[in-house]
């Protein structure tokens, strides 16, 4: 599975990975809190960089898309979603309480409106009335409560358990659902944009998570896990303008990169996600094909356990950082689809991103630091596997060649793909890794960069960072918060134990008959998983 590069980056479950059967491929998605808690300020959003602007949005037509992120073991249980295919399908036939718009604003969906108590601890969501599920059942507040509770409680099997762990109580109040939080959170509505959170019909207070009845703009006509899904316009949609543009969809699971690409070129499908970056320069030139790409906060990290020699030496770490070929990493591992990183985990999509912070490629300085560290000529192991991110093996070789120039011998240890996250990550002193995009700075920092963090994969223990992160969480002044986060970025970049050469990009490709809008939503690839409703066929 060598070199199936960025196409696999964001989530681990390509066909190949599934062939390997790593049960742990999904853990990073959990870690990532699935990126869908989109707080508007933080969401990466970008103008579509495709060539020709498609015509004005148009209703009607039949769209065929080919998505790679599918598995024959997929089910309609949204608590178990972890991949693009099901996310997109579910977003088409179900609704959430709140959506993230293409401009990354909070849009009301099944919650018509919401209001918070002064301390932002109690939130009241007014549920839209007169909405029917596809099976004819009317939407009730009970359904909403059951859909929330699906992700809560001790025995929940939902990935999103962590997302909703701050909720202490959910109750019905007339036409509204009242959510009580343990601590105040001004961004509570964003929780309900999470892709795991879809509103399902309930029975006896339990959500029917395998039901094909949703309230969405499309009816689920046919669903064959890992093969294909057929969607047809819901004539009874509550949404203004029906909530969707194309009349019907066929969503095919096409796991093989080449097959997806040929299907697009031959016109068998209109849209594909994650075209193979290796061929993207050529694909761009194919007549009738457009590339759609959106910057993402996904980070390619290479954590060092800072309690192990020589990684405990800051000069040594600095030497490595200074001799890491960042542009070449983007060119050769990401084929140009990425942004240069600066060895700290907050990507350019964050408002607090410190644009002045950069790590130059400087071999002389690196040599100087290496000399200072006293580790000249040392041999270090890098545990790598394409499980960590597609192209990790290539990246490792890139590093090997450049670090050799300053006198560090890199020994690439190819780790088994099965059990990588269990046996390598957080275990081996130096490995390849990636972190999915987070909606807010705090999530990344709290999980991995505090002394007390559960997944502190670099074992960073910096009192100043600890202090700043806690302070920023409670800071309401945006400017001050930004300043704090920028200081954190500087500290981690300078002293931290991870090398982050680049941040990633979400890429899709379409036929030129497909219109995608001026702006494309972030938070997840394929327009935040909403592309089936938002894109149109001209």
């Amino acid at each position: 599975m060598k070199n199936s590069k960025i196409e696999q980056l964001i989530h681990q479950d390509t066909a190949l990975k599934q062939a390997l059967g790593d049960p742990r491929v999904t853990r990073r998605d959990f870690l990532a809190f699935a990126g869908a808690m989109g707080l508007s300020t933080a969401m990466g959003s970008a103008l579509w960089s495709g060539r020709a602007l498609a015509s004005m949005p148009k209703r009607g037509g039949h769209m065929v898309s080919g998505l790679n992120d599918a598995n024959t073991g997929d089910s309609l249980d949204c608590g178990l979603f972890n991949a693009t295919y099901m996310i997109c399908v579910s977003r088409a036939f179900r609704d959430s309480l709140v959506n993230v718009g293409q401009d990354n604003s909070m849009e009301p969906a099944l919650a018509e409106s919401w209001e918070a108590s002064a301390d932002a601890k109690v939130w009241r969501f007014n549920i839209r009335q007169g909405v029917e599920f596809h099976n004819g059942k009317s939407l009730t507040t009970g359904d909403v409560v059951a859909s929330i509770n699906k992700h809560r409680g001790e025995d929940t099997t939902s990935y999103a358990k962590g997302v909703f762990s701050g909720i202490s109580d959910v109750r019905v109040d007339g036409n509204a659902v009242v959510v009580e939080l343990a601590d105040g959170n001004a961004d509570c509505p964003a929780l309900f944009t999470d892709y795991h959170f879809n509103i399902m019909p309930s029975k006896d207070g339990v959500a029917e998570s395998l039901s094909d009845a949703g309230t969405g703009p499309y009816l689920l006509k046919e669903y064959n896990p890992g093969v294909k899904t057929v969607l047809e316009r819901n004539p009874n949609a509550w949404h203004p303008d029906g909530g969707a543009l194309a009349d019907s969809h066929e969503v095919l699971a096409i796991l093989d990169d080449t097959a997806r690409q040929s299907a697009l070129i031959s016109g068998s499908v209109d849209v594909i996600n994650r075209p193979a970056l290796k061929g993207i320069a050529r694909l761009k030139k194919v007549k009738g094909v457009n590339i759609v790409d959106v910057a993402s906060n996904l980070a390619f990290t290479h954590p060092m356990r800072m309690d192990v020699t020589p990684f405990d030496n800051m000069d040594f770490r600095t030497a490595l950082k200074l001799s890491t070929p960042r542009q070449e990493f983007i060119d050769k591992v990401l084929f140009g689809y990425g942004a240069i990183g600066n060895d700290q985990p907050l990507g350019p999509g964050f408002a607090s991103y410190d644009t002045n912070l950069s790590v130059e490629y400087d071999l002389d300085k690196a040599k100087h630091h290496l000399k200072k560290s006293g580790h000249e000529g040392v041999t270090i192991d890098l545990s790598a596997s394409n499980t960590s991110y597609g192209g990790a093996m290539d990246a490792a070789q890139l590093f090997q060649q450049h670090w050799a120039k300053i006198g560090v011998n890199l020994n690439i240890v190819q780790e088994p793909q099965d059990g990588y996250w269990n046996n390598v990550w957080n275990v081996k002193p130096f490995c390849t890794c990636y972190w999915g995009a987070r909606p807010v700075e705090d999530m990344i920092l709290s999980i991995a960069y505090l002394s007390s963090s559960p997944w502190n994969d670099t074992l960073i223990k910096n009192a100043r960072v600890d202090e700043l992160v806690v302070a920023a969480r409670g800071e309401l002044d945006q400017a001050k918060r930004t300043a704090m986060y920028q200081e954190v970025q500087q500290i981690i970049s300078k002293e931290g134990g991870t090398i982050i050469p680049a941040f990633g990009t979400d890429v899709a490709a379409t036929r030129d008959t497909i219109g995608v809008g001026e702006q494309i939503g972030g938070g997840w690839e394929m327009d935040g998983g909403h592309f089936l409703k938002r894109w149109w066929k001209a």
């Binding site: 599975m1 060598k2 070199n3 199936s4 590069k5 066909a15 190949l16 990975k17 062939a19 390997l20 059967g21 990169d257 080449t258 690409q261 040929s262 070129i265 193979a276 290796k278 061929g279 320069a281 050529r282 694909l283 194919v286 060119d331 050769k332 591992v333 084929f335 394409n386 093996m393 290539d394 490792a396 070789q397 890139l398 090997q400 060649q401 690439i412 190819q414 088994p416 793909q417 099965d418």
Partner: protein, 297 residues
């Protein structure tokens, strides 16, 4: 039929004796064009495999240029996505792919051949049990079984070799058993048995020299299958792992470019095809010789 009539005063009796090497050389010179082609291909591949480090301008995994450089003077066949010299990787691929397939096939022959021989000689319950085991193993789809075993034991080259060899050994068991049974019924084998020879002698001196031709032929076929099997596993991400240059995964990793009509990603596949073709030609010749079938009419 009085077969002996085709030769009057058996010319073999009076011809000068030759050593085996001379005999083999003479055979090769007399071989048909296709077989010569096969021998040439195998020799060239063997040469390349052994001397790859000397022949190649760059290191196997050395990044020497920009990604996807075109064919030119510096990089004769261009570079791959990481900027590694394509020609270098192609030549090293001979070493890795062919080497692994060769070792795997050898191991498979060791396992399958030995059990097949023993089953043929001892017969009885040993034969029954081993044949049943082989039946069971063959009833499980090979690729999927390999997939499972590799998932259990990890995807290093040694496990890859052992797993494929074990699975492939089932086929070799059958062939070896079948051809050995033909020898076991012959008088000279009976004579050796009646002499009280031990099993090792029976295998090594009485049977093996007489089944080399069909086994060599089978070796060629198996070699090709192993080759293609590793390529298929590489396709599914379980074959030889990067950055090792392996033809199967080289095709796989650049496969997206085939859709654009690029020739470069197909080169490793052509290398595979030529070798397979060459081996098969040679196998045909072996089969032809071992069957002693003279075609005519």
């Amino acid at each position: 039929m009085t077969g002996a009539e085709t030769t009057s005063r058996d010319p073999k009796i009076n011809r000068p004796r030759r050593t085996r090497l001379q005999g083999a050389l003479r055979e090769v010179l007399k071989a048909p064009m296709t077989a010569k082609f096969g021998i040439l291909v195998i020799l060239v591949y063997g040469f390349v495999a052994i001397f790859a480090p000397v022949l190649t301008p760059y290191g196997e995994t050395e990044i020497v240029g920009p990604e996807f450089d075109v064919w030119g003077e510096q990089f004769i066949l261009g570079t791959d996505g990481l900027g590694r010299d394509m020609l270098t990787r192609l030549l090293f691929g001979a070493r890795n792919t062919v080497g692994v397939a060769f070792i795997t096939t050898c191991l498979a022959f060791l396992i399958g051949g030995l059990t097949g021989l023993l089953a043929a000689i001892y017969g009885g319950w040993l034969d029954q049990i081993s044949s049943r085991i082989v039946d069971v193993l063959m009833a499980i789809p090979q690729l999927i079984f390999a997939l499972m075993l590799l998932a259990i034991f990890g995807t290093s080259i040694p496990t890859l070799v052992i797993v494929i060899a074990t699975l492939d050994a089932t086929r070799i068991f059958r062939v070896t058993r079948a051809v050995s049974l033909n020898v076991v019924v012959l008088d000279y084998f009976e004579a050796a048995r009646l002499r009280g020879e031990r099993i090792f002698w029976l295998c090594v001196r009485e049977i093996l020299p007489n089944i080399t031709a069909p086994l060599m032929a089978e070796f060629g076929l198996r070699f090709c299958f192993v080759f293609l099997m590793i390529a298929a596993l590489s396709f599914l991400g379980l074959g030889i792992q990067p950055p090792t240059a392996d033809w199967g995964s080289m095709v796989r990793e650049n496969a997206v470019l085939i859709t654009f009509g690029d020739i470069t990603p197909v080169l490793p596949a052509i290398a595979i095809a030529i070798l397979t073709l060459g081996v098969n030609f040679l196998v045909d010749w072996f089969l032809h010789k071992s069957s002693g079938l003279k075609d005519g009419h």
